[in-house]
Amino acid sequence: MLNIGSEKLPLCSGPTRRSFLTAGTAGMAALSLPVLNRLQATGKVNEDKAKISNCIVIFLVGSPGQNDTWDMKPDAPENVRGKFKPTQTNVTGIRICEHFPLMAKMMDKVSLIRSLHHKTGATHENGQRWMMTGHDFNADAMKPHMGSVVSRVFGSRGDLPANVILPGPIGNTGAGPLHGQSAAYLGSAHEPFFLNADPARADFKVGDLEVPVGESASRLDARKRLLEQVDDLQRRTETGTTTALDASYQRAFRLLTSPEAKRAFNLSDEPSPIRDRYGRNTFGQSCLMARRLIESGVRMVTVNHFDTVFNLSCWDMHADGGGLNNTYHDYERMLCPQFDWAYSALIQDLEDRGMLQETVVAVLSEFGRTPQLNARGGRDHYPAAWTNFLCGGNIRGGQVIGATDKIGARPADSPVEPPQILASIYHAMGINLDTAMMPGPGDRPVRMVEAEPIRQLFS
């Protein structure tokens, strides 16, 4: 019998490598890491390294309404302006929703982009693809996640992967599996590493490579021995492809047991007041882990605020009375406070540690929401106008780029499309879009994204 954490696997019945690796939380991490490592061995890394900054993307799955958050219309009719009121920020003339009081105190660091829009379908997946990759695409022409691009350009530092997504991948958001969180044609060497665990849980441990009670050998040795047992078994029944994976699995163990990686993923090292300051919830603790990972050498961390829009409190405020029944109550009591608390903690923490100047923090979403409330008091999908924002790195804070019309229905000034956001993030990270090309058809080099950075962000 193999004991993996609290799991017991019968060796005599022939455990598969997968069953070994998918046992409990340990399995989730261990499954991801070997795949990542194996494919990094075959990937290409562009050595043309510029001055490198890091990036944390907070992705608001479901998408908040622009009129209820960062582009309020207090003078519009009631069915447009909604229920919330604007509050003054620490930048004269910039007002945001009253339920972001802490963000309001640091608006001098933030650049709001109020004229985002795209012209394709109003599904979550369309928006995710745009904002994660800078492209819309179908299954035949998938485009890489921006973290995968960063991974290919800069490579990884130390034992840690270049591109991490917390706490897990986006799952069902209604219209298919293409969320833009894969490496696509860049190859699995640059696939994101998904944590696939909830850092807010009291028993959270990445890898969960605990020696079972009664095990006398060291933890690392015990785990290696167990892996070797499984490998031996597998070799008797599988082809040489199994053997080819060995180096990857060994490297995964090195990664998960290296002091560097253990330190980065070990949230219990954080003082309790810091953990409280981010919020003892999945999103808050993911933001804290993002800071730790960047501090330890990860290039890009994406925090998905929710992995679905169904049957949970999230930004997708349809108020439909069913599985999409988010309302102003969710925004006021949970979503806005949770975001405000964690985001302001992250920005302050990065600044206190001298990391904000070298870390771009982007808050992105799929689209906006209808300017007019629907019959049930909610708002539906609306890609014609929304607000996202950036700060950190060489982003100039305290400004608003673009504007919408009187009801938040259309960009009225300086319209911005998703590829410009990606181009801006790459630029802010020190990537020269004219020289750091991606492989295209027939190995022809192509630009990462067909857009130029938004110059006003940096001036």
């Binding site: 919020g279 929710f306 049957n311 008091g377």
Partner: protein, 101 residues
Amino acid sequence: MEQKFDGTPKAELRLQGRKVTRTAVMNDWGLMLRWLVKKDSKEIASVPARAVDSYEHPDSNPGTYTIVLQSWKYVNYKKDPKGEFVESKFVDISNTVTYTI
């Protein structure tokens, strides 16, 4: 992944005259905080408490006032036909302070 909220938040309130001051919240869920004000046992106000750590209720009419700090507690998504949460609710996370005018 449904969000996990482990532990129980806790803060201490201190009263000076009519001004109540709170400590930082230990085991903070990071959700909405509010001051709940009652007069003669009847709820008369709820005021956001996240951005500031003190509050003085403006009402100076005679009576006995109590103030407690509350946090939103997300249990689950269930809502009634009007869109109000069924099981998720505000819960007290501090001692209650009392003063009389």
